[in-house]
């Protein structure tokens, strides 16, 4: 129960940022897991689906909290209910709407998927299916190749989930340094992903042009 203390609920409804932030921190991983599960259900298990989830996940989670923290939604929330399932319901709706906008269709059995999810209070835990095996291997190789400082920054930002400011404080670095390193981490991985894709597609293209030429 997020709102065990009546004062917390009161402060949340009043829109006190500290209370909102506490609720956010307590629930963001749950929302992310529900969003991930719904998007996976919509996408299937293909490589393209994994890419689409990667592109959509943060947008969906953001939309959920924008809706849930809006003044009218805070007041409307029935405090006799638990907050996480309430957020889970918003997440399911937002994720499905998002998918419809992206792809204009949803799987036929989606209602059954949603019904099944409604029965599971806790969505699936994180596993190693966050991307296809080839992509995971590229990411892991890239992370293993990082120097010590980059690795510490990666750990702070992407494993512990700290903000740039928090990471800078913890690591005793300037925020600008963390920001620059973060951009470099993205750039480096992007380069590896693109290189991997070219390595796969170029021989295929050559083969196709040889056969058709």
């Amino acid at each position: 129960m997020l709102f065990r203390e009546p004062q917390v609920l009161q402060r949340f409804r009043a829109g006190e940022e500290e209370a909102l932030e506490a609720v956010y921190r307590a629930s963001v991983d749950y929302v992310r897991r529900v969003a991930d599960a719904v998007l996976r259900a919509c996408a299937g298990r293909g490589a393209r689906g994994a890419g689409e989830i990667a592109a959509a996940l943060a947008d969906v989670v953001q939309e959920v909290f924008v809706k849930a923290f809006a003044p009218d939604a805070r007041v409307r929330f029935d405090a006799s209910r638990d907050y996480l399932p309430y957020l889970g319901q918003i997440t399911r709706n937002v994720a499905i709407d998002h998918w419809r906008q992206m792809r204009r269709y949803v799987p036929e059995d989606l209602d059954q998927v949603i019904e099944r999810m409604a029965l599971e209070l806790e969505p699936a835990r994180d596993d190693d299916t966050w991307a296809d095996a080839e992509t995971i291997s590229v990411v892991e190789r890239y992370l293993a190749s990082l120097d010590d400082e980059s690795r510490r920054i990666h750990d702070a930002l992407y494993v512990k989930g700290l903000s740039q400011r928090e990471a800078a404080t913890v690591l005793g670095l300037g925020r600008q340094v963390v920001r620059t390193k973060e951009a470099k981490l993205r750039r480096g991985l992007r380069r590896e992903i693109v290189r991997r894709t070219r390595a796969i597609t170029l021989p295929l293209r050559a083969m196709v042009s040889k056969e058709t030429g």
Binding site: A58, F69, Q101, A156, R190, V194
Partner: protein
Amino acid sequence: MSRPSDDEMDYLLSRGRLGGSQRRRILDTALAASRPRPWARWRALLAWGGGGVALAAGAAVLLLALRPKGDDGGGGFQVKGGNAPLITLTCLGATVAACPPGSKLAFSLEGGRDRGGFLSAYADPVESGQRVWYLHGESVGAANADFAPRVVPRWALVGPGQPVGRYRVHAVFSRRPVSREALGSLAPADVLARMDLDLVVSP
């Protein structure tokens, strides 16, 4: 292959979770959306012919250049007895005064008493260059009784190919869907709101 976005890279770097910067950005945006906004006051000011700049932490909203009716061949900014919604633009994760390529642009409508309509938006470079279309005929639902913001569900993207510089974003909220060509010559009765907003695409 299209260039993978920062969000996609963050997803991979965090092994399918959210990166710290994404978490912060989401929190900042949600906190900005949580604040009751004094739109009634803004609307009153605008109705009296004033203008203004509203800045919300983490999500800047810039309202600029209320142009007199008819100076662009269209309806100009429409204020019909305070019934017109305000069109706002947010550069997520940055500000409209410095919005780098790869950023998402969110449009929303504040207030209004309309029954919904269609939002189109495009950007013209202030200096020279090509027009960039962000939205065309995006359906937006009816105004809420409590004046809660109506966020347009579709994001626009500041593409990697969009040159750095100052842009004037023209947004038109119309009663019916219209072609791009017809936007500038819409009859005033078909325009629910029209707004010109400044956007700076930064390196």
